[in-house]
């Protein structure tokens, strides 16, 4: 019973409620992870810069002194390695900055969506909901904190997608062909990612259904096997009907008997083995009961990994579509330009 008390206590221990939507929670977690990664890269870069500066001082002193050229070579070599590291860290930081900005944009959209939804819900409700108002305020503050900067990298296109002043019809046609190939590849990649998302959603649904299916069976104990209960022969039909009452006779007829209870009531638990010979020559009584303690609900059916994967692929799909749109727009411009050149020649 004390365990039940502990359970109730832990259930009522007032866990702080953060009612953020799942999407936002996932994105916030990602955002936090990016921030951590950015911090670690910054620290690493600072450390490398400090080491490079120190080494630079050493190299300067070696150049000035008459020490052996071996030391200087070693120092220069170490300096080169440090510079290479620094370049790698800078590349990682650049890449991170782009991904982080894209992620931040997703977070902005998620907040915008939820803020819109909350405003709509609040305007339809007759009484003001304090929780919703509180959440709306939190979301708006978080959204303001993210700023309104547009991602510059998304709408950029490479030099080969521009028409140069010296480009003739041949060059434009070549560039057009290249862009059409890129557009086709992007379309293929988008379709591929969409197919993957569809598969993942099916998998997610099947996992959820399996979990609910087993949880329902488990709640009603429908998965439990039956085992036997034995008791000594004192609890025969006659004893049952006398001690428990008329209702028990019915139970005994179908093989159900409250044997343990009867044994306790009749004080048989105190009987010594020596008394056995004096016991009635009745036999073992059989009963059956569900064997508890079996665990059915499968663990690790969780779909957290899938949610994250779906989210990543959805973002990728969106990026691919945007890129394709940019290229299609450029293709249109090139076609117009080509048309103008052809018409001019005529």
């Amino acid at each position: 019973m004390y365990l039940i008390f502990l359970t109730v206590l832990s259930l009522s221990s007032g866990v702080p409620v953060s009612a953020a939507e799942n999407d936002i929670a996932v994105l916030e977690a990602e955002h936090g992870a990016f921030a951590l990664y950015h911090d670690s890269l910054t620290v690493e870069r600072q450390h490398l810069v400090w080491r490079a500066d120190s080494l630079s001082v050493v190299i300067d002193s070696l150049k000035g002194s008459d020490s052996s050229s071996g030391d200087l070579e070693e120092a220069l070599l170490a300096s080169l390695v440090l510079v290479q590291w620094l370049v790698q860290v800078d590349q990682r930081m650049d890449s991170l900055a782009v991904r982080w900005e894209v992620q931040r944009e997703d977070l902005r959209r998620a907040y915008d969506f939820d803020i819109g939804r909350l405003i709509q819900e609040l305007s339809h409700s007759q009484r003001p909901d304090r929780n919703k108002l509180r959440r709306l305020r939190i979301y708006q503050e978080a959204r303001d904190g993210l700023g309104t900067r547009i991602v510059p990298s998304r709408m950029q296109y490479a030099g080969q997608m521009d028409i140069g002043p010296d480009d003739g019809p041949d060059e434009i046609s070549q560039k057009l062909e290249l862009m059409e190939n890129i557009a086709a590849r992007l379309k293929y990649e988008t379709l591929d990612a969409e197919f993957c998302i569809k598969q993942l959603k099916v998998e997610q649904r099947l996992r959820q259904e399996m979990t609910f299916f087993t949880q329902e069976i488990s709640l009603f104990d429908e998965h439990l096997p039956e085992g036997r209960i034995l008791d000594h022969g004192r609890s025969s039909e006659a004893v049952l009907s006398q001690e428990i009452g008329p209702g028990a006779a019915e139970i005994a007829e179908v093989g159900f008997a409250d044997a343990v209870e009867v044994s306790q009531e009749s004080g048989v638990a105190q009987v010594d083995f020596a008394d056995a010979a004096e016991m009635p020559q009745d036999d073992v009584l059989l009963n059956r009961e569900a064997v508890r303690g079996e665990h059915l609900v499968p663990e690790n059916i969780n779909e957290k990994g899938i949610v994250l994967e779906i989210h990543k692929l959805t973002t990728r799909c969106r990026e691919l579509r945007e890129l394709e749109m940019v290229i299609q727009e450029r293709i249109g411009v090139f076609h117009v330009r080509l048309q103008q050149i052809v018409e001019g020649q005529e």
């Binding site: 019973m1 365990l3 008390f5 359970t7 832990s10 259930l11 866990v15 702080p16 409620v17 953060s18 009612a19 953020a20 929670a25 977690a29 936090g32 919703k132 959440r135 099916v202 998998e203 649904r205 099947l206 259904e209 399996m210 609910f212 087993t214 329902e216 069976i217 009603f220 429908e222 998965h223 096997p225 039956e226 085992g227 036997r228 008791d231 000594h232 022969g233 139970i251 179908v254 409250d258 343990v260 209870e261 044994s263 638990a269 009987v271 083995f273 056995a276 010979a277 016991m279 036999d283 073992v284 059989l286 009961e289 569900a290 508890r292 303690g293 059915l296 690790n300 059916i301 899938i306």
Partner: protein
């Protein structure tokens, strides 16, 4: 009164009312079923129609970088339209379970999970099921060893307080270790060993002269060892196979047994939006100590108990919120002796709601 409340809730679900708590995941099943042996008797059966209601609600209370906390509540209600006896009215089963579970990331490779649950099962006018109150606590530690390997250490503690005289109270401890290999999200294999310590609130029995069993001053205490192996994979269908060998030693004569348990779970999309779930479990349990000289009515066949359960569910989502499902379930459970196990077939049709 209680069932009336449940029906009001069901009507609200059908009416499509909005979920009053934002962020709360709700799923409900309301249906009817035909059971050809609702009272699980091995002799003359008495068929009955019945209602079934199931509600699952969950909410993630905390979701942070360090871990998460989730609250889950399940309610189930079954009503058989016939009573066990000719003159009896209805037989009801109401089950309620509240669970609070959490996960804490202690380290990049080390996670601690826990759950505490409270379950109340209330059975009215049915001898085939038991009423009890259960409190349970589960603690687990998962260490990621690298390259898809992980080690799990688990401890569970629960206590069943029988609400009726027919069943004994049980105090339950479980300690287990598992080795898991998960090369990808879609594939998982595990090997485990668990020890269960079950203490019953009933006197242990000892064999005495003249084929008698006598209660002794000690209470029944069982020590069960479980060796298990399982595999789960997704390839078009989600498949989970489990096998376990159970070896139970008891201080009470007649309760030591060895058992083989097999479980198959399958979930896949079939066609035209229809998904199928299949659950199959078999358990063969052989009691090691034969009972002392029994009456001729009881033979050694009673030392073998067998459980078979097969359940097939087909469901179709009609839209984002509503779905229909149909289920067939067959059970055979009890002693292997001829005529001493009950068989039952259940056919059900239900509406499912997700909010």
């Amino acid at each position: 009164m209680r069932s009336r409340r449940i029906w009001v809730l069901a009507l609200l679900l059908i009416g499509g009312s909005q979920c009053p708590v934002a962020g709360l995941g709700l799923r409900a099943i309301v249906g009817v079923e035909y059971d050809d042996n609702p009272f699980e008797v091995s002799g003359k059966r008495r068929q009955s129609w019945g209602n079934r209601f199931y509600l699952h609600a969950s909410e993630r209370l905390v979701h942070a970088a360090w871990g998460e906390v989730q609250l889950q509540h399940q309610v189930g209600f079954k009503r058989f339209w016939k009573g066990e006896g000719e003159a009896d009215q209805y037989g009801d089963v109401l089950a309620n379970q509240l669970e609070l579970a959490g996960l804490v990331k202690l380290h990049q490779r080390l996670r601690f999970n826990w759950s505490s649950a409270l379950k109340v099962k209330d059975v009215r006018r049915l001898t085939s099921e038991d009423s009890y109150l259960r409190g349970a606590l589960h603690l687990g530690l998962t260490g990621h060893l690298g390259k898809g390997w992980a080690g799990l250490m688990q401890y569970s503690r629960s206590s069943d307080d029988g609400r009726e005289r027919q069943i004994a109270d049980i105090s339950f401890h479980r300690l287990g270790f598992e080795l898991v290999y998960q090369p990808s999200r879609q594939m998982r294999g595990n090997l485990g060993v668990h020890w269960r310590f079950l203490n019953y609130d009933r006197p242990a029995l000892a064999a005495a002269l003249h084929g008698l069993l006598l209660p002794i001053d000690e209470e029944q205490a069982d020590r069960l060892r479980e060796l298990s192996a399982g595999i789960q994979f997704f390839r078009g269908a989600l498949v989970r196979l489990n096998y376990a060998f159970l070896d139970n030693h008891s201080n009470s004569t007649g309760y030591s047994f060895a058992a083989h348990r097999t479980q198959v779970l399958l979930s896949r999309h079939i066609a035209a939006g229809i998904d199928g779930q299949l659950f199959l479990t078999t358990q063969l349990r052989r009691y090691n100590q034969e009972k002392v000289e029994t009456r001729p009515l009881f033979t050694s066949e009673e030392d073998e108990y067998e459980q078979q359960m097969f359940s097939l569910k087909l469901s179709r989502q009609l839209n984002e919120r509503y779905g229909v499902s149909s289920q067939y379930r067959h059970s055979r459970n009890g002693s292997r002796q001829d005529g001493d196990a009950f068989r039952k077939n259940v056919y059900s049709l239900a509406l499912e709601f997700a909010l």
